[in-house]
């Protein structure tokens, strides 16, 4: 009887049932869409962070850059000799550590020993600026004609110097010194070798390098090619591509080689840390900060807060506007459902009064009302899930491209000290393009079903409460 009665009543009040179901469907669809887009944002942020951070890295330890002393130059210094009789090419490399102050290598072991730390690996980030080119000397002319002074030449008087100048190229690239004994953590962890091979644990001080695919392409390097960094010749043993997005490091060399190049013996710029339990990251962070003073510990959530650009804007929109909009629509839908159900019960006073007069207990009448509301809620839930999945599918199909910037350009620098940062004293913003998707998880579907049931229960509870308060005498009274 319950099922037949329920089916017939919903059939009789199709329009009201549809209004209730559609209201709930709209709210639930919004929740699914906002949730899936937020999940897509998080995935995009994770991709961005992992591309810079390395897979498996829970946090990094760095040391903030100190402000340069007064009078000292913080920029690289190049010296070229304008030789009187030479058109020959001159070249000069400047190798500088980047990403904050260098830390002692011994700190890596100290960090490893902290409670909650699974493993820690040190890496040295270098920035290499190579300037090469030549001067061209001006030519002296003794004619008394018009005065034409070239660069480097003198003007006025006799003899006159014409022509001359300088032609120099600047090549700026980043180098990471990698602990070859543990490549599962650190700068290379986010890279995949696509050609050649990676370092062996025996190559702690070998003059070999792995280069990023984009850098290799620009320099036409292949496995077996050689190139020089600050006069030291390296052989390319592998070409690597980042697991996601772009790599911010161009060349990877063994840590010892990087320390030699950067004149930073037994120094690292970043310590990559993996926690034993990913849920205890904040505890481990506090542990390291309190035991190793003067260091900055940056977790991926800290990094996430530095993400800016359209990804950040969209993420903020999804989490703030989207969340509140879906809550507002849901609350409105619940209210409308409850009011319509309650109003429907009021119109059925005689019906429920009659059933009570026939001996139906209040609980049975209430169950009937709640049952009808629950079916309404579930229909709304099913429609909402359908709509939400369609919206998520459309977002994924369109895949809008978002821009993510990490860090701040021209900041006082050194604070976060993640690899791939800019030159000394500042962090360069890393701009990445990410395609947004909207994955719908089982949890989101479960949430939608839960909301549908809740909506049905709220409406049913209100209607059922009214129905339960009706007296059997109402069956007679309403016809008087």
């Amino acid at each position: 009887m319950f099922g037949i009665y329920l089916k017939r009543e919903l059939g009789r009040r199709k329009k009201a049932a549809l209004v209730i179901a559609l209201g709930l469907a709209l709210g639930i669809a919004l929740v699914i869409t906002v949730n899936s887009v937020s999940a897509g944002m998080n995935q995009a942020q994770d991709k961005v962070l992992k591309s810079l951070y390395g897979l498996g890295t829970d946090m990094t330890v760095t040391k903030a850059q100190t402000a340069p002393k007064a009078g000292s130059s913080s920029g690289p210094n190049f010296k070229f000799d304008a030789k009187s009789s030479s058109k020959s090419s001159q070249s000069s490399d400047r190798v500088m550590t980047q990403g904050g102050q260098a830390l002692k290598s011994s700190l890596v072991d100290q960090v490893s020993d902290q409670k909650g730390v699974d493993s820690a690996v040190g890496a040295l980030s270098l920035n290499v600026i190579k300037v090469n080119g030549s001067f061209t000397q001006g030519k002296a002319q003794s004619s008394g004609g018009s005065n034409q002074g070239g660069p480097g030449g003198a003007s006025g008087g006799n003899p006159q110097v014409q022509g001359g100048g300088a032609n120099f190229n600047v090549n700026n690239y980043s180098v990471a010194g990698v602990d070859v004994a543990d490549q599962g953590l650190g700068p290379l962890a986010s890279m995949k070798i696509t050609s050649g091979k990676t370092f062996t644990s025996a190559q702690t001080n070998a003059k070999v390098a792995v280069v990023s695919k984009s850098y290799a392409k620009s320099k036409k390097y292949k496995v077996g090619s050689t190139f020089k960094i600050s006069g030291t010749k390296f052989t390319v043993i592998g070409i690597a591509t980042p697991n996601s997005s772009e790599s911010s490091t161009d060349v990877f060399v063994p840590l010892k080689q990087a320390q030699t190049l950067g004149d930073a013996k037994n120094k690292v710029t970043t310590i990559y840390v993996k926690a034993t339990d990913s849920k205890q990251i904040s505890t481990v962070k506090k542990e390291i900060q309190s035991n190793i003073s003067g260091t900055t510990v940056t977790t991926s959530s800290d990094m996430a807060s530095t993400v800016s650009g359209s990804l950040s804007t969209a993420s903020n929109l999804a989490t703030s506007v989207g969340k509140w909009l879906s809550i507002a629509v849901l609350v409105a839908a619940f209210l409308v459902a409850a009011l319509l159900t309650s109003s429907a019960v009021s119109r059925r006073v005689r019906e429920f009064g009659t059933l009570k007069a026939l001996g139906w207990p209040s609980g049975k009448v209430t169950r009937q009302v709640v049952g009808e509301s629950m079916v309404n809620g579930l229909i709304g839930g099913a429609l909402g899930i359908g709509l939400g999945l369609a919206a998520a599918y459309v977002v994924t199909a369109i895949s809008p491209t978002l821009t993510a910037q990490i860090g701040s350009t021209g900041g006082s620098g050194g604070g976060n000290g993640f690899p791939g940062g800019g030159g000394p004293g500042q962090q360069t913003a890393n701009t990445l393009q990410i395609a947004l998707s909207a994955p719908v998880s089982a949890t989101t579907i479960a949430l939608a079903v839960g909301l549908a049931v809740t909506g049905g229960l709220i409406a049913g509870a209100m209607g059922g409460w009214r129905a339960s308060r009706m007296r059997p005498a109402d069956a007679l009274r309403s016809v008087q």
Partner: protein, 270 residues
């Protein structure tokens, strides 16, 4: 047997208190037929509500077979209504979305009767009131008289001890009224039910063996005719269900009411 002692019912509307019943004393024997008549607002329906356990008195007691309906728990009162009391309403009060058979079944739901038996008993009850061909019709597909027959089948399908009727012919034309009254009297006679009916219709009231007139909440009883039906009913066996009645009533096109359709109600005077 019903024993009403000092039954008073007060309603409060805002600051005003209305006394719908004022110390009503009444005894109704098993198998008796009592018609309650009176002006609108006199307390007829209120008295019926007290007798049917649909409402509780503000003071006094309403005893059915020694059980005081004024003081028993709500659950017991609900159960008592489900088991012992059949009610017929002026506006039929059928569930509009359910078929005639399903409407009759609703009376068996609180008794926990299994669906198959429920369907069978409902069908038998409808046949007994001449609606064997209308089982699957919803109320809007039935005439007023047919709807009231469905309501009568619903009241009787559970084999009640008491049948209450609140203006059962109030919404019917004269011809249909006579059919329904003949049917009800036939059923009362056949089952030995205690039959209590509220009516405005003087022609119906005049035919009742006992007439209770209510004015301003006070009752006046008139013994106005033979209690032959009642005595016959008391001598009859306790109802064995619609099935046993149906064996004699639903034979061919004849049903219970037809046996007692001796003469029309309208225009008669006693």
């Amino acid at each position: 047997m019903y024993t009403l002692t000092g039954v008073t019912k007060r309603y409060t509307r805002g600051k005003e208190t209305v006394e719908a019943l004022r110390g009503v004393d009444l005894t109704i024997e098993d198998g008796d037929q009592l018609v309650i008549q009176g002006p609108t607002g006199g307390g007829k329906s209120t008295l019926l509500q007290m007798i049917g356990g649909l409402d509780r008195p503000s003071a006094g007691s309403v005893e059915l077979d020694g059980v005081n309906l004024a003081t028993i728990s709500e659950a017991k009162l609900t159960r008592l209504r489900a088991e012992k009391i059949g009610i017929i309403f002026q506006s039929f009060n059928l569930i509009p979305t359910l078929t005639a058979q399903e409407n009759v079944e609703t009376a068996l739901v609180p008794l926990g009767v299994k669906p198959a038996e429920r369907r069978e008993r409902a069908a038998e009850a409808l046949r007994s009131v001449g609606l064997g061909e209308r089982l699957t019709h919803v109320p809007t597909e039935l005439s007023g008289g047919q709807q009231q027959r469905v309501a009568i089948a619903r009241a009787l399908v559970k084999k009640p001890k008491v049948l209450l009727a609140d203006e059962p012919t109030g919404n019917l034309d004269e011809g249909t009224r006579d059919d329904i009254m003949n049917l009800l009297e036939g059923l009362w006679h056949e089952y030995g039910l205690t039959f209590i009916m509220v009516t405005h219709d003087s022609s119906i009231a005049r035919r009742a063996p006992r007439l209770a007139t209510i004015k301003a909440g006070q009752i006046t009883l008139t013994e106005q005719g033979t209690r032959q039906f009642a005595q016959q009913a008391q001598g009859a066996q306790q109802p064995q269900g619609v099935q046993s009645y149906d064996q004699q009533s639903y034979d061919g096109q004849q049903y219970a009411g037809q046996q007692y359709a001796q003469q029309p109600y309208g225009g008669q005077s006693h």
